[in-house]
């Protein structure tokens, strides 16, 4: 089996339990909060989207952990940096898709619990698209920020954090959402906003790979 | 087993020669393989191989292809001859030098040997 696939599988195997537990606790917490909210307030406020927005930041952190924690380990088992990054990217994409499915799903279920109407398939699809793009952007931003520091040290990496965060900045500016998952302000039409974010993400993916492909393998996480 | 002051392959060769002289290894006996020797004495196999190669060159051992190395039929006699030649220069002369330095006369040495103090 090829090395990239092995990287993906190992990372999934290692981090899946943590992610499932975290997500599980989130979901249970939101369901309890929703039930309580439905009893005390009318109309009940939505809680899910407050919480679900955090998923994208998790994904950014996961990217940081992958590089800080796992790159060294994989080079030590004879995997090239590029294969590691490709394998880790697949995990980022899979996690992004999983969250992008989970967000509208949870939102729809919350609407149903609150007995509300107005959650259409179109809303769901929009939330899916926005979450997917935001999660990918976050993963790549985290990855690029960490790659810069890994390759060039704290100061060099600090300078590179600005371009690294571009994808995250793009989604924050062009795809801002409120606590109910509605887009607040639209400077650009949705499709164009999504495209701009994806282009920024793709560009920074290239930056991140360029930074890491010649990196010296450090003796400890980032030291 | 080995000291680190002279090449180990020479020490290996010497110890096998000693075994042959003492009769521990008899003619046409198979000696340990290079790997067995290396594992037993915890040394690099290349070093052991070099020691064996020297013994083959000197005719103490001979090779049977695919089987191993054996003690040459005339090894003991040959080694004895060599050591006997060296005995007077290496052992007796040195002893006499020492005796002269510390003031022991040849007569005393002869007496010691005849007296059979052994």
């Amino acid at each position: 089996m090829n090395a990239r696939r092995q990287v993906t599988e190992h990372l999934l195997r290692t981090y899946r339990p943590v992610l499932i537990w975290f997500t599980g606790i989130f979901v249970v917490g939101v369901v309890i909060a929703d039930i309580v909210a439905a009893r005390v307030a009318d109309p009940a406020p939505g809680i899910w989207m407050y919480v679900a927005i955090a998923f994208r930041y998790w994904i950014g952190i996961i990217a940081v952990i992958f590089i800080a924690n796992n790159l060294r380990q994989f080079v030590a088992v004879g995997v090239t940096r590029r294969d590691f990054m490709a394998g880790a990217l697949v995990v980022g994409v899979l996690a992004s898709v999983a969250f992008a499915v989970l967000v509208p799903l949870g939102h729809g279920i919350e609407y149903a619990i609150h007995g509300g109407s107005g959650f259409s398939a179109a809303t769901g699809f929009r939330e899916f698209a926005v979450t997917l793009v935001a999660c990918l952007a976050s993963f790549i931003a985290g990855s690029a920020a960490c790659s810069g520091i890994y390759r060039f040290g704290a100061w060099g990496g600090l300078a590179l954090i600005i371009p690294a965060l571009l994808p995250a900045a793009a989604t924050t500016i062009f795809l801002p959402t409120d606590s109910d998952g509605q887009l607040i302000a639209q400077y650009l039409p949705l499709s164009l906003a999504l495209t701009v974010s994806l282009v920024a993400t793709a560009a920074v993916t290239v930056l991140s790979h360029w930074e890491l492909k010649d990196a010296t393998i450090r003796r400890s996480a980032l030291g | 087993m080995f000291d680190d002051r002279s090449p180990i392959y020479q020490q290996i060769a010497e110890s096998i020669k000693d075994d042959v002289l003492r009769g521990t290894l008899k003619e046409d006996d198979q000696v340990m393989s290079t790997n067995q020797y290396a594992a037993f004495f915890q040394i690099n196999p290349a070093t052991a191989a070099k020691g064996f190669a020297q013994l083959v060159e000197e005719g103490v051992l001979y090779k049977k292809r695919g089987i191993g190395m054996f003690v040459s039929p005339d090894a003991r006699a040959r080694l004895r001859g060599q050591r006997q030649e060296r005995f007077f220069t290496d052992v007796v002369d040195r002893m006499l030098d020492e005796a002269r330095v510390i003031g022991v006369s040849v007569e005393e040495i002869k007496k010691h040997i005849d007296g059979g103090n052994r």
């Binding site: 090395a3 092995q6 190992h10 290692t14 924690n69 796992n70 060294r72 380990q73 080079v75 030590a76 088992v77 004879g78 995997v79 090239t80 940096r81 590029r82 294969d83 492909k213 010649d214 010296t216 393998i217 003796r219 400890s220 | 080995f2 680190d4 002051r5 002279s6 090449p7 180990i8 392959y9 790997n35 290396a38 594992a39 004495f41 915890q42 040394i43 690099n44 196999p45 290349a46 070093t47 070099k50």
Partner: protein, 293 residues
């Protein structure tokens, strides 16, 4: 064949490895010897594709190992820090190697784990220094990589564990010959296992030769000061000490039979120098390399 050409590694203003050129034939056990900070780890890091050289090159069978999928899979580099996720269990790390290393020997790994009394359920961060080293040795040997590099793999191991390490390494090498590079400064313990020694000092190559040849290089000459000085003139003197009118010098370079006779007839006494002493003299801080040449 491993070829280093003018290999140089710099960290900012410090030069860790300076223009080293050396060829290592495959299938041998090499000792890379040098004092702490002599550049051993930097050199090995380039060899194992952990870093790029500042200048010069490393090739293995003609190819650069850096980011080379096929070569990196066949190189195992165990360094003292042990490149692992601290929170993982020892067994998880072994499983990962088992999946990734084409020649992994699970049976050998299990045997070594038992020999070193390692608990695979223990988290790596919770292992003692010696246990970490043992885990590194298990990985290094069971990977059975065509190029196995063990960088000071014995740190923190007690004498019994070190002996077990050397014994197991030799036993597995005898069955599966491959290129093994051991970096160490405890030469005495491993000298007999090494086919060739490579000595570096302050980033520079000092010696690369057959261990047995190197072993016979040193000779200590003792006698009356003037006689010793006369004999030592023009030779590489590694160390000297005097007591009253008696002087002893440590010379580098084997003496031939004529030179020995000449020394003995001048009333000098000659004695061999142990391999560890020879190394210490060759790399002592007050020495300059050029004098050894």
């Amino acid at each position: 064949m491993i070829s280093l050409r003018d290999l140089t590694v710099r960290y900012g203003a410090t030069t860790a490895v300076e223009s080293i050129s050396v060829d290592l034939a495959p299938g041998k056990i090499y000792g890379l010897l040098g004092r702490n900070g002599s550049g051993k780890t930097s050199l090995l890091s380039v060899l194992s594709a952990y870093r790029k050289p500042s200048s010069g090159s490393v090739t293995i069978d003609g190819s650069d190992p850096f980011e080379n999928r096929a070569l990196m899979r066949d190189i195992v580099f165990v360094r003292d820090a042990l490149d692992a996720v601290e929170g993982d269990r020892a067994g998880t790390l072994l499983d990962l190697h088992a999946r990734m290393r084409p020649c992994w020997d699970a049976e050998l790994a299990a045997k070594l784990v038992a020999t070193f009394e390692l608990d695979p359920r223990k988290r790596i961060g919770a292992l003692s220094r010696g246990q970490r080293s043992s885990l590194g040795v298990v990985i290094g040997l069971a990977s059975r990589a065509p190029l196995t590099i063990l960088d000071e793999a014995y740190l923190g191991m007690d004498a019994a564990a070190r002996m077990a390490f050397y014994r197991e390494m030799l036993a597995d090498y005898l069955e599966h010959p491959r290129t093994i590079i051991l970096s160490t400064h405890l030469i005495q313990e491993v000298a007999d296992l090494l086919e060739e020694v490579v000595i570096i000092d302050r980033g520079r190559l000092v010696v690369h030769e057959d261990t047995d040849t190197f072993r016979s290089r040193g000779v200590a000459v003792t006698g009356a000061a003037e006689t010793v000085d006369a004999f030592a003139a023009g030779r590489a003197v590694l160390a000297e000490q005097s007591l009253g009118g008696t002087r002893q010098v440590t010379l580098y370079g084997a003496l031939d039979a004529d030179e020995r006779r000449q020394a003995e007839s001048a009333g000098l006494s000659l004695s061999p120098v142990g391999i560890q002493d020879l190394f210490v003299h060759l790399t002592s801080p007050e020495r300059t390399l050029e004098a050894a040449r």
